[in-house]
Symmetry: C2
Subunit: 478 residues, 2 copies
């Protein structure tokens, strides 16, 4: 537990404000990182007071304040149809911007009896990842002695001008104050480790200097400087799973059989995705594979088995300038479908441990921590009803060479051949090493890889459809 820095009690408020607003300006200009401030306390009015003071000192542009627990309007409903972490990802500040979350991802966890140790350590890992990816997390606990909580509520309720500030949640806290205090102590202790952000306890006594402590903490959090975790977050080892299925024997399929099998599996997929069982689920399909493995063709056939109005096909290329203002998982979170919808990713977050590793776009430390981050991300999806299918289209080096050669000849395929393709072929050995490690570290029971032999296109397309149908059928029966 980090103590709030002591601040000279007689400091010039004006000077503090000058420093804050200057640093905020530089922060917005230079964009060294993003800042998430989580304010939480026994009383909701304490959080509101903290935010009010913060905004009094600072420039309200480029600061957004969210009280996600409190509202229940349209935009919140979007959240309810997706995994819970999505609500923070949607509102994550870009580098150079600030978001204040009342309660943050701790809101519900601070109520007595709520969370198990696993979800707390999961939050630690989330914060470690955010910080390593350039989102500083400043966590403020607004503390009060028990007696003071009661006194403060009484004072607020006594005056009609302030009585509205006492929320139902505040009354619930008052009723079970000792249980709340135990829970808060436990959560705060357990989420200040493992590379997560430390908590800062701010004692809300009657000295006005407490708010200057908040300003000093904010000033410090705006300072440029890369986050260096003291210790790497403790990761759960990937669960033991059956070894990857080897590519099914690839016998080839006759043209006639192909058309009828295609129609069969597409029909089944249409019925599955239209079924009532899919009404509160969603489906994410990830395609990875070497260039010319046939991803585009397989996706075209697969997508004909889904109502186009339920479907988004998302090609993943190099990140845009906007993407680079956020952690690398942000641009995938943007496309996580709501209930009853499907997203097909043509390449995915695995780029981090494939192309970014092989081409040197990511530092070694960054792609190495990505395995655990990806497992956490996929766990967040599958734990909340998203059916996740990960497909590796396995094309041999020889077949790949032949396809590159043929691309020059088919008129409507010429556009696909780029100089990068030829270069990538040279990098194949480096890719093979990265692929093997990717399988070893991200082939989990909840989100297993399917390796599909892709030297025969017809076979691969049918095998993809069949695998998706079978996985979805099994998931919807649960």
């Amino acid at each position: 537990m980090a103590k709030a820095p002591s601040h000279p009690r007689k400091s010039d408020r004006r000077q503090l404000r000058t420093r804050l607003i200057r640093r905020q300006f530089q922060f917005h200009e230079k964009r060294p990182h993003a800042l998430v401030i989580i304010v939480a306390g026994y009383l909701s009015s304490d959080g509101e007071d903290a935010v009010d003071h913060l905004l009094d000192w600072m420039d309200p542009r480029n600061i957004r304040v969210y009280a996600l627990d409190r509202n229940g309007r349209g935009d919140e409903l979007v959240d309810r149809y997706r995994p819970p972490q999505g609500r923070y990802w949607r509102r994550l500040p870009a580098r150079g911007e600030i978001a204040v979350f009342h309660g943050g991802w701790y809101g519900p966890l601070l109520r007595p009896g709520a969370p198990d140790d696993d979800s707390l350590s999961c939050l630690c890992r989330l914060e470690a990842m955010l910080q390593a990816e350039g989102v500083k997390v400043l966590k403020i606990w607004l503390d009060r002695p028990a007696k003071d909580v009661r006194q403060r509520l009484k004072t607020l309720q006594a005056d009609t001008a302030t009585a509205w500030r006492v929320s139902a949640q505040d009354r619930a806290v008052l009723k079970q104050l000792p249980a709340y205090r135990r829970q808060v102590d436990r959560v705060l202790a357990q989420t200040a480790c493992d590379g997560g952000a430390p908590w800062h306890r701010l004692e809300l006594d009657h000295s006005p200097a407490r708010w200057e402590d908040l300003a000093a903490l904010t000033l410090d959090a705006l300072k440029p400087g890369r986050f260096q975790p003291a210790t790497a977050p403790r990761r759960v080892a990937p669960p033991r799973v059956q070894p990857l299925r080897p590519p099914p024997p690839d016998n080839g399929i006759k043209k006639q059989d192909y058309e009828s099998q295609l129609a069969h599996w597409q029909g089944r997929l249409r019925r599955l995705t239209a079924s009532a069982a899919f009404a509160k689920r969603s489906l994410v399909i990830v395609f990875e594979g070497y260039d010319a493995a046939g991803k585009g063709g397989a996706i075209r056939r697969l997508s004909r088995g889904i109502d186009p109005a339920q479907l988004a096909v998302v090609p993943i290329a190099a990140p845009t300038a906007e993407d680079r203002l956020y952690p690398y998982l942000w641009r995938f979170w943007r496309h996580i479908p709501p209930y009853h919808e499907v997203t097909i990713f043509d390449r995915s977050w695995y780029g981090r441990v494939l192309v970014e590793r092989v081409e040197g776009f990511a530092r070694r430390a960054d792609w190495q921590r990505a395995y655990g981050e990806i497992r956490d991300f996929e766990h967040e999806l599958t734990a909340h009803g998203v059916v996740l299918v990960k497909i590796w289209l396995d094309v041999s080096a020889e077949e790949q060479r032949q396809r590159f050669a043929a691309r020059g000849k088919t008129p409507y395929k010429q556009y696909k051949l780029t100089p990068a393709d030829l270069k990538n072929a040279e990098l194949r050995p480096a890719y093979e090493k990265a692929v093997a490690e990717m399988f070893a570290r991200t082939h989990t029971a909840q989100a297993p890889w399917a390796v599909i032999a892709a030297d025969d296109k017809r076979f691969a397309r049918i095998a993809v459809l069949r695998h998706v149908v079978e996985t979805l059928t099994a998931a919807l029966e649960k």
Copy 2:
């Protein structure tokens, strides 16, 4: 009414596909414009068939299909809390991308007895604007003779494998077929004029060539080439309104009075925005004014009168690379608040007729059509419950000069002084001309400008708060 181009009946399907997929590839690479395809017809299954054929020929990446009428899930609720046009703006394709809307913005208008002439001509102007801003609109009406509609429905219903494709809406159409046909003829005739996109009628007879006509139309729509309206859209003249209020006399406010007046108006604004009357309204406040007019300071004081969790303060600078992929209004639509929330724009869409005009960033023809487009945009907001307050902070040239000089001296204001500021001061006469024309053409009864004298900062800040409170009070009483 444009006829679908006749296409050689024996054309090679393969060749057509080759051309389509090649042009789609170039379209995505070069990004000459965005493409919106609206498919509509008497029967929903006809629209689905059209989309299925289109996706069979094309690459499903970078095409999104939307059936907004049909769904009622989370994401649709976001739409319901905002003006209706917002649902299309949220899903507008970027340059190089394609969106297919089942029914598009015509969906509800094609039912008997629905729209008045005004809303139809409003759609024409919307399409003219989109096309002038780089979004081509291809409108396809899937036609059938009355007898054929009945026959087709009968055929679909007879087979259990297809019976599900008959929607409740289809049955409604069948019941009142003559009324639907009259309505469709009227809507199609009236929305093919005024610079809007033409309708293409595709006769769904039994020849397979009809879908090749669709491919040919799409091929044509992907062709680069700037949209040239045959005639400028007919705009409604701005409604007559009382002349702009001159800046109120600026008497100065003593420091003591200032603090208490600030608290008074901030308190009133807090109560208003927290009130039940505001639960299904929202508030947009636009700040414009010369540099150093005091926008930032006024916004800070104003924003303290609104719960931070209801508020977004959006500074508008030069458009980003992503913004440039869309019509200029897109980035403002992104920030239109849902019910019960407030957005303050620090500069706004008026940049089009101010900085872009004066600095020559927009072509003359583009900023000239912007007056009408802005009136339409603001009408869309105010007609659907958004309270819109437009404030011009009026600082004299002399006071502006003094403020620039002072900025160098106050430590926490130095950051505000940039070389651009000094240059803008030189351009003041050009700006004054642009401002005068802006007032003349966008000061409407629904969205009037308030000009507030800003040479005295305290006076201006109180006047801003007071104007917002009074406007909102009046609007919520309606």
